[in-house]
């Protein structure tokens, strides 16, 4: 006769995804290595710091090829780069308010801009993705986006001579596995750092704001900085800004956590590169910054979990508005959207 004593320790982990905040030394990239991770002076330490993913030219190039590879979609028609186009700061461009995927199926959300991703704590409008390296799994699995299983994707790549060569260059042999695949794309995305706007140059002492831009900076500090925090122009937190609920009834972060206190909260996007990222918001509902500011002063809806800052009335005079727009214009990084390192490649 046997006695089994099973002790079940139920462990409630208070867990979080806070990553190591080790600071990586700043590299003056241009002269040393164009393909080294960038951490501009004065910026906080990145959350994704390539700690298990040493950046090399060949891995980056593999990632770049993969980013523009239509073979990664079910019907081989679209690549990441279709919904994330460089000239639009890696958004879908002005023609699309929500994304278009395989078989021209429409998604429910606007393709966000891809830059300074290493500083995000979570990805997607609702924070569904917890690490830059696993981001790719989401569009692959999404029937409205790439709609291809990871094993099928790897299978296709391992049959291609081009990718055999690229994997060999990057990793020393032709083995195509998920880890290599995911880490290579993460290298491409992780090097998409936008830090050469006029604002950055002013901060570096290489340029000066005009009087209007300077006034606009002050308006920004009063009206926008609470969420769109410098120098990234976002704290990447989740907030309900008070947009009227859209026709998809998109509940934002609530979809992921199921917590009622997350209803209608979306990730605060950066205010950098707004000249390229039209249309705006998670569903692309606004086509001009004017629309955005009109919403801000007169359109805020009192939906559940409205941020307290938005619950108070905001007034922006005509002069302040034009100054603010002048300031926002200093956040556009033309070098980034034309950088040859990130161009489409086949």
């Amino acid at each position: 006769m046997k006695y089994f004593i099973a002790i079940i320790s139920v462990v409630f982990f208070l867990s979080s995804c806070s990553k190591d905040t080790e600071i990586i030394s700043n590299t003056t990239t241009a002269t040393i290595n164009e393909y080294a991770p960038v951490n501009p002076p004065g910026w906080p330490a990145p959350v994704y710091n390539f700690s298990n993913n040493d950046v090399t030219y060949d891995k980056f190039m593999l990632g770049r090829h993969l980013f523009y590879e239509p073979m990664l979609s079910e019907d081989t028609t679209i690549a990441c780069g279709n919904c994330h186009q460089q000239y639009f700061a890696f958004t879908n461009g002005p023609d699309h308010n929500v994304s278009h995927g395989v078989h021209d199926l429409l998604g429910k959300r606007n393709s966000p801009a891809l830059f300074n991703l290493n500083w995000h704590t979570l990805y997607m409008w609702d924070g569904a993705v917890n690490n830059l390296e696993v981001q790719v799994l989401a569009p692959l699995a999404n029937p409205l986006e790439l709609n291809l299983s990871l094993s099928n994707a790897l299978n296709r790549l391992s049959k291609s001579t081009k990718y055999k060569n690229l994997f060999k260059k990057a990793f020393g042999d032709t083995v195509v596995d998920s880890q290599r695949f995911l880490k290579a794309i993460a290298q491409f995305m992780g090097l998409l750092v936008s830090y050469n706007s006029k604002y950055d140059k002013v901060k570096r002492g290489e340029d000066n704001f005009s009087a209007s831009e300077k006034n606009g900076y002050d308006v920004y500090k009063i009206q926008c900085q609470y969420c769109h925090v410098e120098p990234l122009f976002s704290d990447y937190s989740f907030k309900n800004k008070g947009l009227p609920i859209n026709l998809y009834q998109d509940s934002g972060r609530y979809r992921v956590t199921g917590n009622p206190s997350d209803q209608f909260k979306f990730k605060v996007p950066s205010l950098r590169n707004l000249a390229f990222t039209v249309p705006y918001m998670h569903d692309g509902r606004f086509v001009t910054l004017d629309n955005v500011l009109t919403f801000f002063t007169t359109g805020v809806a009192n939906t559940p979990n409205l941020d307290p800052f938005m619950a108070i009335p905001h007034t922006v005079s005509v002069q302040q508005k034009s100054d603010l727009l002048a300031f926002l214009n200093t956040l556009n990084d033309y070098k980034f959207v034309t950088d040859p390192r990130f161009k489409e490649i086949h």
């Binding site: 099973a6 002790i7 208070l14 806070s18 298990n52 690490n131 696993v134 998920s178």
Partner: protein, 271 residues
């Protein structure tokens, strides 16, 4: 049921986990006498069962097919088409309270696997007596958010959620006539979740009977464990497949998690 007595003690404690690797482990090297050979392997052999029957994975995709069928505590018949789960962070406890800790300890057990049969070995276990085994049913929180993984944690194993990043700790799929016809009588139980307040990571501790597990030079010991799928659906909550035939997010997994923590038992140890 043989004359076995299960005493289940639930020890609930709060611990602070995060995506940081925990620098503190209880691992203490055992006293080394012979510097050349002081370790041996230990085989862990999991047998998936439905009480007394060895679990068979049905290949058919509809319930009406003549597949092996089981009956849950509610009296609902069902078949099983998929049963996979993670066993990770395995530790063996010595008489003196110190532990052997398996390095890089991640195992994906698949009841449909006809190659390895849910059998694997712990390497380099120091000679000693071990009184219990501990492991996480699932994947620790750090590896849930540590980016692209390989081996058992490779996302192409189809045990990773992309709609909300994180590992699926257990996947149970099957059919029951009691599940909705509109749902093609499917059963889909996917348990995962590593974030408060829906943290479904559980540590399982199974004591060994005297004379315990004895790791020694002469023989590779085997620990025979059983994983009983019927436990997922009874105790403390009897699951009616009409009322609950699918969970696919951490928030709604509570009942199943409370049930499935006692699906493991030790059936024998061969020293």
């Amino acid at each position: 049921m043989m004359n076995k007595l299960f005493i289940l003690l639930g020890i609930i404690f709060l611990s602070f986990a995060s995506c940081h690797k925990d620098p503190k482990t209880n691992e203490v090297a055992s006293p080394v006498t012979d510097p050349l050979v002081t370790t041996n392997e230990v085989i862990l052999n999991f047998t998936n069962v439905a009480d007394t029957a060895v679990l068979q994975i049905a290949k058919d995709t509809i319930y009406t097919a003549p597949t092996p069928k089981y009956i849950n505590a509610n009296g609902d018949t069902f078949s099983v088409t998929k049963f996979k789960y993670y066993v990770s962070n395995i530790k063996l406890k010595r008489l003196d309270g110190t532990y052997y800790t398996e390095p890089e300890s991640y195992h994906l057990l698949n009841a449909g696997d006809t190659i390895n049969y849910c059998r694997f070995s712990l390497k380099k276990v120091p000679y000693d007596y071990y009184v219990s085994i501990e492991f996480i049913l699932g994947v620790d929180s750090f590896r849930n958010c540590d980016g692209a993984q390989s081996g058992a944690l490779d996302p192409s194993e189809d045990m990773f959620w992309s709609w909300s990043s994180g590992y699926i700790f257990m996947k149970f799929e099957g059919y029951s006539p009691r599940s909705y016809p509109s749902n093609s009588h499917n059963l889909t139980f996917h348990v995962g979740g590593y974030l408060t307040p829906d943290n479904n990571i559980r540590t399982i501790t199974l004591p060994f009977n005297a004379p315990y597990l004895n790791v020694r030079k002469e023989n590779v010991a085997t620990v025979y464990l059983k994983t009983n799928v019927l436990e997922i659906f009874r105790n403390p909550s009897i699951i009616d497949f009409f009322a609950l035939n699918g969970i696919t997010n951490p928030k709604s997994a509570k009942t199943i998690v409370a049930n499935y923590v006692d699906m493991f038992s030790i059936s024998a140890i061969k020293n």
